[in-house]
Amino acid sequence: MEDVPQLLLELTLEAQRHPPRSPNRQRALNKLVNQILKSNLLGHPQKGQWPPDTYEDLYREALQKTCLEICQKIEHYKPEHPVMAWVNFTLKNRFIEAVKDFYEIQNKKVLILSLAALDKHLPPEDSPSKANLLRQFLEEDPEDIFKSEHIKGHPEATFQVLAIAKFVEDKTWEQIYQEFGISIATLSSFVARRSQKFKPYFHKYLQE
């Protein structure tokens, strides 16, 4: 049997000894969090006061925030107390906050969906009128920006044409490559970079 409290103390002091973001410190923090998560020394604040499913969600949220605080405030640990006393004190406080956040989020009807449940909760296809807004904007191009830029050496491959194919008609890069005979790397790089460049233009006309 290894002495877990002693190991936790050593890892904490090891992390403190090295400057922020040094490999040794990061390694110590990683191991420390791993050890804390798998130790059976973690407290369970407010247990029994919540339905089991809700409790699990609250606990996970609080535990996650606790890990972050331990890492970011490792300097605050004082070796007079066992590491787990510090961790569990933090966990208790983060649990109280998680409860507050939970009430707020409940109003927004947030569900913690599993991969299987996700498929049943996806929003439906947009109405044609809404989908048309993007097409209309790309086609009209009120400031003549989309039509003025094209892939070098391919005047037919303007941003306008490619954006309609990709964003409105939902064509794959492969399909666009077949159509224009321009490599996927060139196509995608052009479209991604220009989308970035035209972001303010998009926002100006398509603000929701």
Partner: protein
């Protein structure tokens, strides 16, 4: 034997799912909505992990928090301050590879694969790659350890802007000299002169594991004229040591020249002094055996 630190499993709860839901519901069709949901969880996990590792991230400024950009491209980016943009790709349970869509092949410093659990309540960082491909086999990913080392190296390549020091603006990790050094170490170098100086220092770890040595890199500025600064770069022992390890080298380089100081048997510190003009750049390297730490500076 190099030890691999397995990154810890990141718990995902209602904060993560709330964001995922918020952004996915703004999408125009179910496929796209699912993609955004999973992408958001992946970015959430990486953002959390990097903040645990004391990096500064700016998720809100990233495209993956812009509903419009999400609608156009398959994006899961995360801005890491002073370092660059990384892409966080979700990997489903039991998958053998990680897909990286052409939408994000540009302007990324790396791609992190994030495995999500069946219940979507846990995420694990699997590794990373610097070069994108449509599909990358999980076996071919570099480790998360290497990812952290890579990010740190990129950050060190960012120059420390010394001009800011004159306005008392110091980047993270640069401590007041009094906090860093033992009072006895301050004596000869800092107290004897009656002039004002601005100095800061940083702990540097040389080497790994057992053979490690920590030293302090101290940079002091002294200005007599507006346009030119006197710069002193010093290395001190840390951890209660009186002397520097023998053979430790301090190297200052600029475009055209290089100056080297090397510690002898019983040196309390070593130093190099030079002057530089505003706008000039130089690098400082501290070398001990195989270990080398380089930091860039700009005036």
């Amino acid at each position: 034997m190099p030890t691999k630190t397995l990154p810890f499993t990141i718990p995902l709860s209602f904060e993560a799912h709330s964001l995922a839901q918020q952004y996915s519901q703004k999408q125009s069709n179910p496929q796209k909505a699912k993609q955004v949901y999973l992408n958001t969880l992946a970015v959430y996990a990486v953002d959390f992990y990097l903040r645990c590792m004391e990096f500064e991230t700016d998720w809100l400024a990233s495209d993956s928090r812009d509903p419009l950009m999400l609608k156009l491209l398959d994006i899961a980016d995360l801005d890491v301050k002073q370092i660059g943009k990384i892409e966080c790709r979700p990997v489903l349970p039991n998958a053998q590879s990680c897909g990286i869509p052409p939408d994000v092949w540009e302007d990324r410093i790396g791609y992190v694969a994030v495995e999500l659990s069946e219940s979507l309540t846990a995420a694990t960082l699997l590794g990373f790659t610097k070069t994108p491909a449509t599909e990358i086999s999980l076996e071919n990913l570099q480790s998360v350890d290497d990812f952290l080392v890579y990010l740190n190296r990129l950050q060190q390549q960012q120059p420390v802007v010394l001009r800011n020091w004159l306005e008392e603006i110091f980047a993270e990790g640069w401590q007041a000299i009094e906090e860093l050094l033992h009072p006895e170490q301050l004596e000869p170098a800092f107290r004897s002169r009656g002039i004002t100086y601005i100095g800061r220092g940083q702990q540097i770890d040389l080497g790994m594991q057992r053979a490690e040595k920590s030293v302090a890199l101290v940079v002091t500025l002294h200005s007599e004229e507006e346009s030119e600064l006197e710069i002193k770069v010093q290395v001190y022992p840390l951890g209660g040591e009186t002397y520097l390890p023998q053979g430790l080298k301090l190297i200052v380089m600029d475009e055209s020249k290089e100056a080297v100081a090397e510690s002898r048997d019983c040196d309390n510190f070593i130093q190099l002094e030079f002057s530089a003009e505003l706008g000039e750049e130089f690098s400082v390297a501290v070398v001990l055996g195989e270990a080398k730490v380089t930091q860039h500076f700009r005036l």
